[in-house]
């Protein structure tokens, strides 16, 4: 079967690119990027400077090179593809496919005129698009009824620059879905405090939000030192955070109590030396 060129020309890159992307700075180590790729099941991570403009792309091939040299601790600046080829969001799929054929890359970042990364287009996204042509409408409608909406974001320990991005994205999604403002406020506080906890205390973690019409469940799971006495950690004012964290306006022992106050149900599981899992539930039908 041959798909007519007109079909590809009618599809814009911005319509099918994957916008659920993670960006890193040149200082991120290859190990954490490997983790991001594993958790998010992606094979390319854009590298941006302090102004959020693209300067490179770490691909799965770069991770393999670092792995082969036993050098995963190095900053990604050392291995990333510099000034990568990219697509414009307004490009059509035909232009994109020509680029894929020319360079034989597996994915291209999608970058606007200001140099900001809007998404990534991989061959996988294109294949899925082809499959979705006919089934699209039926499928999506069914899905929203049956399955919970799951949002998932990796959070890096010590990454104070990106801290808050995951919570910000969650908030935006809930607003788009028309969730009640008082509920959004509670979710925002829980996710933000949980995200800050991972950034302050852990090595790396994931923030997950499950949404159904009845309940919002927020799970923040990290690999880190763990909490030895959870009851003590729940006490307002108790903190193990170092002074430099306090200078940032956090680490005064109010994180977990804040999370508790905004949750209808809260469970904390922790193993010292391994990590912590915070599970918070908010019921939506409760009046």
């Amino acid at each position: 079967m041959r798909i007519p060129k007109e079909f590809f020309e009618g599809v814009k890159v911005k319509e099918i690119m994957n916008t659920d992307i993670v960006m890193v700075t040149p200082y991120h180590d290859m190990k954490s990027i490997q983790e991001i790729m594993r958790i998010k099941r992606i094979d390319g991570v854009p590298v941006v400077n302090d102004l959020g403009k693209i300067i490179g792309l770490v691909t799965v091939e770069n991770v393999i090179s670092a792995l082969a040299s036993g050098d995963l601790k190095s900053p990604c600046e050392k291995y990333m593809v510099r000034n990568p080829k990219y697509l414009d969001p307004e490009d059509n799929l035909y232009t994109a496919l020509k680029l894929f054929r020319q360079y034989r890359f597996g994915r291209f970042p999608v970058v606007n005129n200001e140099g900001e990364v809007l998404g990534i287009l991989s061959t996988k996204d294109i294949v899925l698009k082809l499959l979705a042509i006919e089934e699209k409408e039926v499928k999506i409608e069914k899905k929203s009824e049956l399955e919970p909406l799951i949002l998932e974001y990796p959070v890096l320990g010590g990454d104070f620059v990106s801290a808050g991005i995951a919570s910000s994205t969650v908030k935006k999604v809930l607003q788009q879905l028309g969730v009640e403002p008082s509920i959004i406020r509670r979710v925002a506080i829980i996710t933000y405090e949980a995200e800050m906890n991972i950034v302050i205390h852990a090595y790396r973690g994931v923030l997950k939000v499950f949404l159904t019409p009845e309940i919002i469940e927020i799970i923040a799971e990290d690999e880190g030192p763990g909490i030895s006495d959870i009851e003590l950690a729940m006490q307002p004012g108790y903190s193990t955070a170092p002074d430099n964290i306090r200078e940032m306006g956090f680490g005064a022992g109010m994180g977990l109590p804040n999370i508790k106050n905004c949750s209808d149900e809260l469970r904390i599981e922790s193993i010292v030396g391994k990590g912590t899992k915070v599970i918070s539930k908010i019921y939506l039908d409760k009046k």
């Binding site: 506080i189 933000y192 956090f250």
Partner: protein
């Protein structure tokens, strides 16, 4: 009170959000360096709260974003990092710097009719947050 009038009262320097300064109407204020306290206590459903702080890192903007706080005042004339200013611009939040200390800034606003912003009920009632 219009955000613009607040800037005048405290002799402030607008670092971000100049374009919305005529529209934003402030009724209440909250002063803190501890962002967890802001998160715990401020309710800003009507987008009418100003946050006064001595902290300058981007987390003040993130905190404001989480709670829909439209305006932040950094007191004591501290140098505000570029990344904080850029984030405020991106999020459409007014960021102002004043040479006044937190106490004086709060006093000026209070004298001019800005009330304390606090969540209905208290922390102990928790679930109302």
């Amino acid at each position: 009170m219009k955000a613009r009038d607040i800037v005048k009262l405290i002799d402030g320097e607008v670092l971000a959000g100049e374009e919305i300064i005529e529209q934003v109407e402030i009724k209440r204020g909250f002063a803190a360096d501890l962002m967890s306290d802001v998160l715990a206590l401020v309710e800003c459903e009507n987008k009418d709260v100003v946050l006064i702080t001595g902290i300058t890192n981007p987390q003040i903007v993130r905190t404001a974003e989480m709670l829909d706080i439209p305006m932040i005042i950094v007191a004591r004339g501290k140098l505000v990092p570029e990344e904080t200013i850029n984030l405020a611009k991106e999020k459409g939040i007014i960021l102002v710097r004043t040479k006044n200390i937190v106490f004086v800034t709060s006093g000026i606003l209070f004298q001019n009719g800005i009330k304390g912003a606090i969540v209905k009920g208290s922390r102990e009632e928790g679930k109302s947050c």
